[in-house]
Symmetry: C2
Subunit: 368 residues, 2 copies
């Protein structure tokens, strides 16, 4: 699976694996792809530094990347406390009542729960970047809008390529104009923040809009045949996130959540604003139902919603309150039905791509 | 583009072209695909017979198909008048007011407007079938649920294969159990009735669920690279509907509607219940906005909604009231930007498939 972009990055397969877990990202890199560590869950810079040390030690000099969430619109000097102060009391009460209804225990004073995902605050993203630039990452991705010009310049000076996710051709063109090197076209069926255009339509549309800039297909890709489809659509590589959530290396996920992922069908996700305030595909749970219920107060805009629910999600995760327990994941969750190592999943993906390539050759009448 | 299914049907390319216009369907067949005439807009059996005569005369003995909408749940003996009587007065008033607001003229007494799409009434579908079985169609498709057992038996005795559209693996399995020969996996991005699972995820899921039964990929396919993607996903053929709407042979569409289709982007469609009572992707218009507005009465269930709006849509079409003028169409509408003949579109599709096959071979390292 070689493309112009995989050659440029010096990777064996044009397969990009996104994960919030260093063990997954490093294993993708070791398998011959490019592992990208999602930084959004890190709060303390020292914690990120420790994991980047680990990444560096476990990738044997092969290229890896980092994904930081930098909001496109940011207000200089606004702190987390300022944002906290903007959250209405009715919304805090709704969080309290929903948790109480499901008997979710309180955290002890000062105790950190599971993850407190606040990395989309500009303040937090900047502190992550200050740490990250001490490490030789090969790719810096931004999951939300174009990275600021100074960050792009700094990444280029660092020798890294810059990628940005886009849910429409219009966003992709904005990224290209901002100086981004790679556009990740993320379709409707993807986990996390998505637009409404499906990968089948979005990928070629973005390729046309920004070519010859390389495009990665993202969304709906969790098998070798889906990789072949993404590449047939004109992408120079594929970006997979969901498929790694049920790997052995995704150990930090609770057993209860892993069980929910293994049991879920392709129709068990929802594109909801419950998590961050922007539409993000995730497991449908009693938590997303509560926020999507027209009778409730509804989600706040980003970044308020993320901050509002951060502690609640920590508690739900820590105490494994199954009905409320969720995670961003794409429609391919229906296909995730066993826990295996990253290397095994990776081998199956590349072998499946080979089979799909054979199939296309046969249909085109080129099987000799 | 040959698969086991294309060989079985005796067609050159595994490309199925659906259209409500005989001139389009016949041209797809003549080009080497299999043209499928949508019968939903026919009301008078004699009118359908005339168009089937025409199809037969213009396909030179090559295979063609017919698509009839037979609802999965039907109530024996219920007439159109019975259904009409179930429509609430508030909904009739809403139709009247919305049309008045946009100055849509009345039809003269007894005058037929554009199309009055009531073909999803069992009564109408049955009368269509009685006409159709006088013609040697090679494929009978049902756009809504599995065809009734007697219809499947009659089609098989007629020497035809039976296809049914499915938006989920569960529906596909139901079709297979009912004795259908081909499942059309219709993804979220498709025009017309769709579920929420995108083609990229739905196609392989349906292939796994009903294999070795052949599956056609539908939704998001309007270019050769999208055809290659659909086939890479395990489909034995592709089903295209939207792409023909801006062909020369789709002459019956009004110039105003053609202009709207040419101007629309991939984000200008909506999955709305405004047309039939079930979610169907179509151009987003002031008409769909009115029905999707939470402040309005909202659409009625099928078949009430279709009957309620039939005359209104006729008037909107006849008088080309641009803000309200729409049609079922998929997200690939963003790519439909010129009016060309079916043969030219078809040639571009097959050439594009060849280019995509070359690309996959190169990426797989098989370019010799």
């Amino acid at each position: 699976m070689r493309t112009e972009l995989s050659r440029r990055l010096g990777i064996e397969h044009a397969l990009f694996g996104f994960s919030p877990f260093p063990a997954v990202a490093a294993a993708v890199t070791r398998a011959g792809g490019l592992g990208v560590l999602g930084a959004v869950r890190y709060r303390a810079p020292a914690e990120l530094a420790a994991d980047l040390d680990w990444m560096q030690a476990h990738t044997g000099g092969l290229p890896w990347g980092l994904d930081v969430v930098m909001p496109a619109t940011r207000v200089e000097g606004v702190t987390e406390a300022d944002v906290e102060a903007m959250i209405p009391a009715t919304h805090r009460r709704f969080v309290h009542d929903t948790l109480a209804e499901h008997g979710v225990p309180e955290l002890a004073a000062g105790e950190a729960g599971g993850w407190r995902i606040t990395g989309w605050l500009d303040e937090v993203a900047r502190s992550q970047l200050d740490v990250a630039f001490d490490y030789p990452f090969a790719l810096l991705a931004n999951a939300l809008g174009s990275p600021p010009a100074d960050v792009i310049g700094r990444a280029h000076a660092h020798g890294a390529l810059v990628a940005a996710l886009a849910g429409s051709a219009r966003h992709a063109v904005r990224h290209a104009e901002a100086g981004v090197d790679i556009v990740v076209a993320q379709g409707y069926e993807a986990g996390g923040h998505t637009g409404e255009i499906a990968t089948m339509v979005l990928t070629p549309e973005v390729v046309r809009a920004v070519g010859p800039l390389p495009v990665l297909a993202a969304g709906g890709i969790g098998s070798g045949e889906q990789i072949a489809a993404g590449l047939a659509l004109g992408a120079q590589g594929v970006w997979l996130g969901s498929v790694w959530l049920t790997t052995t290396e995704a150990g930090p996920l609770s057993p209860a959540l892993t069980a929910k992922l293994l049991a879920a069908g392709s129709g068990d996700t929802v594109r909801s604003r419950a998590l961050t305030g922007k539409p993000a595909r995730q497991l449908r749970t009693a938590w997303t139902d509560a926020w999507d219920d027209p009778a409730g107060p509804g989600p706040l805009p980003m970044p308020l919603q993320g901050l509002l629910v951060a502690d609640a999600l920590s508690r739900i995760q820590k105490y494994e309150v199954t009905p409320l327990l969720g995670t961003p994941v794409g429609q391919i969750v229906g296909r995730m039905d066993s826990v295996r190592g990253v290397q095994e999943v990776f081998d199956e993906l590349t072998a499946g791509f080979e089979r799909a390539a054979d199939r296309i050759a046969r249909i085109a009448g080129r099987d000799g």
